[in-house]
C-alpha cells in the first residue's frame, strides 16, 4: 500500500461556465474556476501556493492553438494573472494528460513542497473542428494514419468497439441503455453541458455516425471551460470548509500498442489491467471495496473496457453489465453519476476525479450514492498516460 495513502485530500472544487464557444477568454474561465475552488474550501488567492495542469490543446491536424490565455493557460501565466506568482512554490505542467499533473500535485502536497495546490484543466474549442487534417504532409505517427483518412480519434475508438462487437456478438443496441441513463444522470448535474436535454433510445440508435460504429453520442462534447480541484493535506483539509475526500491510492499506466496503430482492444485490456494492478496495490483495495466508479468516457467504449480491466467484469462482459443497467444510479455499481464527459463536457478526466471525490464527501445532491465510502476514477483509454485514483470518505 502507498505509504502516503489518505494523507492528501481534495478540499475544494470549482467550475467555470461550460459552453460550446465562450465569448470569455480562456484565462478568465480558468480564473473563475480557481476562485470558485478556493472559495469552496474557504480560502482565497493568497492561500494558493501550487498550480498544476497539462496545458496543451489536443488538436488533430491543422494548426495547434498556442496563444497563452486564449488557446492554453500555463500555470506560470495563470499565477501572474491571479496576482500571486510570487507565492507559488510549486508549478506542475505535464505533456500527458492533466490527471498526471494531479499525481504530481498530490506528491508536491504530500512532501510539503506546497500547502494548497490547484490542479486545473482549461480547454478551448478551436475555430472550425478539433479534427481537420489540412496539412500537405503527415509526419511522426500521423504518417501511418492521416494518408488513409484515419486521423479522426473517434475512428480509432471505432476499431476497438467494432472488434469487441464482432468478438462477443454485441451491437449498438446494447450500448443504448448506458448512453440514455448517462444522459439522465447529467440532468442531475448543475455543471452538465447537456443538462436540460435528456435523450431516448432512438436518439442514440439514429445518431449521426462519425466513424461507424461510433456516433456523435459516443463522443464527449468539446467545451470552452475550466475545472479546478484544490488539494491539500488531509490534516489541513479537516480545518477547511468542506468534508475532505481522501486520496487513498493513485497509479499511472505505461502500456503502449504497436506504434503503427493508435489503439487496439487487446492493448487497451492489457493497459487497463496494468493500471488496475497498480491502483489496487496503491490503495490496498480491490474491485469489491468500491461502491461507485467514474470511468473515462471521452469515447463510450472505454467505460466498459475499464470495467473489465479493473476486474469488475470479465473480458467481454462489461457491455452486458451496462446493457443490463448495473451501472445506473441505484444499480450495483453506479458509474459516471454526473454524466461523465459525455454529459458534462470534455475536461480530460477532471470530471471523473471531481465526481469520485464529490461522492465520498456527500456533495452530489440529487445524484448522491447514499453512504458512498470509496470511489474510483480512471482516466484515458488504459494505454500509456492513463491514470487511476481511489478516494475514500474522510469522516463517518
Amino acid at each position: 500500500m502507498w505509504a502516503l495513502s489518505n494523507k492528501v485530500a481534495v478540499a475544494g472544487i470549482g467550475y467555470s461556465a461550460l459552453t460550446r464557444r465562450s465569448e470569455t477568454p480562456l484565462v478568465q474561465l480558468a480564473k473563475n474556476a480557481i476562485d470558485t475552488a478556493l472559495a469552496d474550501a474557504g480560502l482565497t488567492r493568497r492561500d494558493l501556493d501550487g498550480l498544476a495542469t497539462s496545458p496543451g490543446m489536443p488538436r488533430y491536424g491543422g494548426a495547434k492553438g498556442t496563444v497563452e490565455g486564449v488557446d492554453v493557460v500555463t500555470p506560470w501565466f495563470l499565477g501572474e494573472q491571479l496576482g500571486v506568482q510570487n507565492r507559488i512554490a510549486y508549478t506542475g505542467s505535464t505533456n500527458g494528460m492533466v490527471t498526471q499533473a494531479f499525481i504530481d500535485a498530490a506528491m508536491a502536497v504530500a512532501s510539503g513542497v506546497c500547502t494548497h495546490a490547484v490542479v486545473y484543466r482549461a480547454l478551448h474549442v478551436p475555430p472550425g473542428s478539433y479534427v481537420n487534417f489540412d496539412s500537405t504532409f503527415a509526419s511522426g505517427q500521423d504518417q501511418y494514419f492521416a494518408p488513409f483518412g484515419f486521423s479522426v480519434p473517434p475512428a480509432w475508438a471505432a476499431t476497438v468497439l467494432r472488434r469487441y462487437f464482432e468478438m462477443f456478438g454485441y451491437s449498438r443496441g446494447d450500448m443504448a441503455r448506458y448512453i440514455v441513463d448517462n444522459r439522465a444522470n447529467t440532468q442531475l448535474n448543475p455543471n452538465g453541458y447537456w443538462r436540460g436535454k435528456p435523450i431516448a433510445r432512438d436518439d442514440y440508435l439514429d445518431a449521426r455516425m462519425i466513424a461507424d460504429p461510433m456516433s456523435i453520442l459516443d463522443c464527449d462534447i468539446p467545451v470552452d471551460g475550466c475545472a479546478a480541484i484544490l488539494l491539500t493535506s488531509a490534516e489541513r483539509a479537516r480545518d477547511l470548509k468542506q468534508k475532505p475526500a481522501l486520496l487513498s491510492g493513485m497509479a499511472a499506466g505505461t502500456h503502449s500498442p504497436p506504434s503503427s496503430v493508435p489503439m487496439t482492444l487487446e492493448d487497451i485490456w492489457t493497459g487497463c489491467e496494468q493500471v488496475a494492478e497498480r491502483i489496487w496495490a496503491s490503495s490496498g483495495m480491490g474491485p469489491t471495496d468500491i461502491d461507485n466508479a467514474h470511468l473515462y468516457d471521452g469515447f463510450s467504449p472505454f467505460v466498459f473496457l475499464w470495467l473489465e480491466g479493473l476486474g469488475i467484469c470479465k473480458r467481454g462482459e462489461g457491455l452486458a453489465f451496462l446493457r443490463d443497467g448495473h451501472g445506473a444510479l441505484g444499480g450495483k455499481l453506479p458509474i459516471n453519476t454526473g454524466g461523465g464527459a459525455l454529459g458534462e463536457g470534455r475536461l480530460h478526466g477532471m470530471t471523473q476525479i471531481i465526481e469520485a471525490a464529490s461522492q465520498v464527501s456527500d456533495r452530489c445532491g440529487e445524484r448522491q450514492v447514499p453512504g458512498a465510502r470509496r470511489a474510483i476514477a480512471t482516466i484515458s483509454n488504459g494505454l500509456t498516460k492513463s491514470t487511476g485514483f481511489v478516494f475514500s470518505r474522510g469522516e463517518p
Binding site: 479534427v131 489540412d134 504518417q143 494518408p147 483518412g149 476499431t159 466513424a211 503503427s260 487496439t264 487487446e266
Partner: protein
C-alpha cells in the same frame, strides 16, 4: 504551393518519411511491401523505429513480406478527416494483421469489398495506390476467400 497545385483539389496528406521510415515508404513507392525486421532477434517491427522495441538492437533492415493479411478490425469513416478526403466518404479503413507475425498491424483503406462484406479474419492482399508521382500507399484488397 507549386504552380501545379494551385487551384487543384486538395490532396490527401502525404506521408513525410523520416530516418526510421524512409525504407518503408521507398519500397512502397516501388510497389513492394517491406517491413522492418530486427536482424538480431528476427522480430518484425512496424511502425519502423531506430531500435528494436523487443530486444533493443539497432541492427534493423527492411525485408519484403508476402503481402498476405487478415482483417483485424475496421471502421467506416463518415466525418471528414480533412479537405483531402472530399468526395471519398464514407471511407473504409481497416486495421490489418500481416501474415508474418501476430499483432503485426497496419492501417489501410480496404478495396474490393463493401461494408457488409467485412468480418474479422477476412483475407486480404496488399496493393498500391499511387497518390503522387513519388508516393504510393500500401492498401489492402479483399481476396474473396472466407476468413
Amino acid at each position: 504551393m507549386s504552380e501545379a497545385q494551385k487551384g487543384a483539389v486538395p490532396m490527401r496528406p502525404r506521408p513525410l518519411p523520416d530516418e526510421a521510415s524512409e525504407g518503408y515508404w521507398q519500397a512502397a513507392n516501388e510497389g513492394c511491401l517491406a517491413i522492418q525486421r530486427c536482424q538480431d532477434c528476427r522480430r518484425w517491427n512496424h511502425a519502423p523505429s531506430l531500435n528494436c522495441p523487443a530486444c533493443g538492437s539497432g541492427d534493423l533492415d527492411f525485408e519484403k513480406v508476402s503481402g498476405e493479411a487478415t482483417l483485424f478490425s475496421w471502421t467506416v469513416v463518415h466525418h471528414s478527416p480533412g479537405p483531402g478526403f472530399a468526395g471519398k466518404l464514407p471511407l473504409l479503413v481497416g486495421i490489418v494483421e500481416l501474415a508474418e507475425q501476430p499483432h503485426l498491424l497496419q492501417v489501410a483503406n480496404l478495396t474490393g469489398c463493401s461494408e457488409g462484406d467485412l468480418h474479422l479474419g477476412m483475407p486480404l492482399h496488399v496493393e498500391f495506390e499511387r497518390i503522387a508521382e513519388d508516393c504510393a500507399l500500401p492498401q489492402f484488397r479483399a481476396t474473396g476467400g472466407q476468413g
